[in-house]
Amino acid sequence: MSLVRHLKTALLAAALALAGLQAAQAQAAKPQEQFFPLQSYRVGPYAAGGTGFFGGFIDYLNLVNTRDGGVGGVKLTWEEGETQYEVERGVEVYERLKTRPGIAAWNPLSVGIAYALIDRVTADKVPLLTINHGRTDTTDGRVFKYIFPLLVNPYSETSGIVNYLGTKAGGIDQLKGKKIVVLYHGSPYGKETIPIYELLAKQYGFTVQQIEVPHPGNEQQSQWLTIRRAKPDFVVLRGWGVMNPVALKTAQKTGFPADRIVGNIWSNSEEDVIPAGDAAKGYVAITSVAPGTQYPVLQDIVKTVYDAGKGNLQDKKRIGSVYHNLGVLNGILNVEAIRIAQAKFGKRTLTGDEVRWGLENLKIDEARAAALGAKGLFHSIHVTWDNHEGDGRVAFQQWDGTQWKVVSDWIAPDWKLLRPIIEKSSLAYAKEKNVKVRQSIDD
């Protein structure tokens, strides 16, 4: 009895000592490090997106550390906290990791978590990146100083999809009288584009019917029966995670052809189509990042990171998949913002506010993208202090049964049409929350 008790005490003491030691190590401020707190999700219904995206992000940070010795001599560090895509978990991770020194930026890859963090990052003066997603009106940097929906916000994505459907119909004016069904995920992310589809429908004279699929999206029989009754010309799939393969399979069962379904930016990955099998053949989806491993930066990652056994993806076949490449691209944008900010503030650990300045001066044209080994991986980006999206272009890709093939040029969404709507919304937010509207980058 007493032996057991002693053993227990000893074990407990050892565990506590070890925990204390590691905590002490973590607490010790190390100079010249830039820290990325990662609110990742590797379990739960959206694990495919989480492992791919955060895997790619970590792979790129690893590449920069190994190949270049960091950014300007500053090492990149990170730590993951599991969120399962749940808002309260994301908040917990934020509160846990926000005291770390040298935080560069937050990259939650979840609209729900991003919403919960807007007030918090603004108070803490650290940027929050929502690449390809997020709250649309955060594009207005005059109001949302620390939030960056980089490359494509939900409205641009919607405009891009409608433009593409216009070309498929034989000209945007041919959309008149057509019928489009939008099947959307029952979450803040899924609902974000409801008003913009209504607006574009009025603008171009098509009718739109928007149908919700409850989270996570395993059940869609009744939705597709409604679609079959409605007989639409196109279905836009605004899905996420398991909802997408289920949608494609259910579409096949109800006899709706895959090539008349157009996926949005979070319905465009291998993980969305491979589980659907041949039901996905011919399916088209929008993208801001091209799939494949032929780009030099991906080759570097394979050579420098994976061949050294430091790769983050467990399944090497996923290298070059859409989510993985998006993670790599997210790494490029973060790292370039740090590089640009270092040019102004010096090659040292930057504060969150300095990284925010770097993001507001983030300009990667096609030449710079090529120099980074990312020519063709994405088009370009030009962020300014009042435009936090950055004029990114989109392309369309089609699934041929084994891989994605890009089937369009890089096209521009209708930013002129969208900007006034965004400003109306952001100014309303500024009024509700008493936020001062910035007049210049220095405000």
């Binding site: 565990a15 590797r42 309260e88 908040v91 509160e95 609209v111 919960a116 584009t193």
Partner: protein, 351 residues
């Protein structure tokens, strides 16, 4: 009326009844604010308090009055959205008034969905309260007015301030939540000791017998739904305004209802202490476990593997607890205290 059999939660301890809550409150007000960090406030204590309060509310309904409900998260959502809309649409309405009105709105919805309890019992009632769960989420999604026409259905919480004093720092938000929880818990405790509370227990133990001895059964049932929904509604406001500071309908889904029900069952039915112990186990303990796991093993496993291990561990612990004491953590606590007292020398009277 106050015979011991009607008070299953009364601890058989040597110190007076008020001692444990008094010590807990003294610690919560006096010691915790000095020791805790922002992380402990924002990620552990505030959600713990909000869900404890929701569990107190559900315990009144399920533990005391014996009405099984799976609609708790819906009543939380009603409270949060109603408080938001009162705050938004009534110029100059104080936050506390908005919270109370949110609770009142939850009460109204709670009574409406409590009506089937007049005809249904047990699992049948639980399934009918599911209707509240689905209906509320549907309504909040369907009608943009509830979320002030925010396209994604997400609303931002107003700043926390009472009579011009801001409670926006983590400590302030904690103290605010703590006060609300303490006051409402005290009220609920008081209710359980009134004739109304005894009616609840009588209805729970044997509805027919209760009717025979003259307990107004229908009134007791609806009153239980009303009081419970009010408390749960205010807990929803705390969850949305004080903890997350953003509210979306999907945050109040069936999972949350189950979570609250599990807190009540694991903590111990018909004891208020159980609500707090259960919330500690369901809300705080997994976070501590996952932090300990990532500190000790984080270098060897990725966060996903750790998360799954932590779930297995938590599941095993819950099963272990329930085998050791099916009446919940509160009973376990009581037994531990009783054992502690047995090992001491007997009191002078030799009792």
């Amino acid at each position: 009326m106050a015979t011991p059999t009607l008070q299953p939660g009364t601890p058989r301890t040597l110190w007076p009844l008020w001692a444990t809550p008094a010590i807990a409150l003294a610690l919560a007000y006096g010691v915790v604010p000095l020791l805790a960090t922002d992380y402990v406030f924002d990620a552990l204590l505030i959600p713990f308090l909000a869900l404890s309060l929701a569990a107190v509310g559900l315990n009144l309904l399920t533990g005391y009055a014996g009405q099984l409900s799976l609609g708790s998260a819906a009543f939380m959502a009603v409270g949060a959205y109603a408080a938001y809309n009162f705050q938004l649409r009534v110029e100059g309405l104080p936050l506390l008034a908005a919270m109370a009105l949110g609770g009142v709105a939850a009460t109204v919805v709670g009574v409406v969905f409590g009506l089937p309890s007049l005809r249904l019992r047990g699992f049948y009632l639980a399934v009918s309260t599911l209707a509240a769960q689905f209906f509320v989420q549907w309504a909040l999604t369907k009608f943009g007015w509830f979320s002030n026409h925010n396209p994604s259905g997400v609303i931002d919480a107003p700043p926390i301030a009472v009579a011009g004093v801001a409670f926006d720092a983590p400590t302030g938000r904690y103290l605010f939540a703590l006060t609300v929880v303490a006051v409402l818990t005290a009220l609920v405790w008081r209710v359980t000791r009134t004739p109304t509370g005894h009616h609840f227990i009588a209805v729970r133990d044997n509805e027919l017998a209760a009717r025979v001895i003259g307990v107004p059964v229908l009134r007791a049932k609806l009153l239980a739904f009303a009081l419970s929904s009010f408390v749960i509604g205010v807990a929803g406001v705390l969850w949305g305004f004080v903890y997350l500071r953003t509210v979306e309908p999907a945050g109040f889904n069936l999972d949350r209802s189950f979570q609250i029900l599990f807190i009540v069952i694991i903590g111990g039915l018909a004891t208020l202490r159980g609500a707090f112990l259960g919330a500690a186990l369901i809300v705080v303990f997994p976070l501590l476990l996952s932090r300990l796991g990532s500190l000790l093993l984080g270098q060897w496993f990725d966060s996903g593997v750790l998360e799954l291990c932590q779930r297995i561990a938590l599941g095993a612990i819950i099963v272990g607890f329930l085998i050791a004491e099916p009446r919940g953590l509160a009973a376990l606590w009581e037994r531990a205290v009783a054992r502690l007292q047995r090992t001491r020398p007997p009191p002078p009277q030799g009792a």
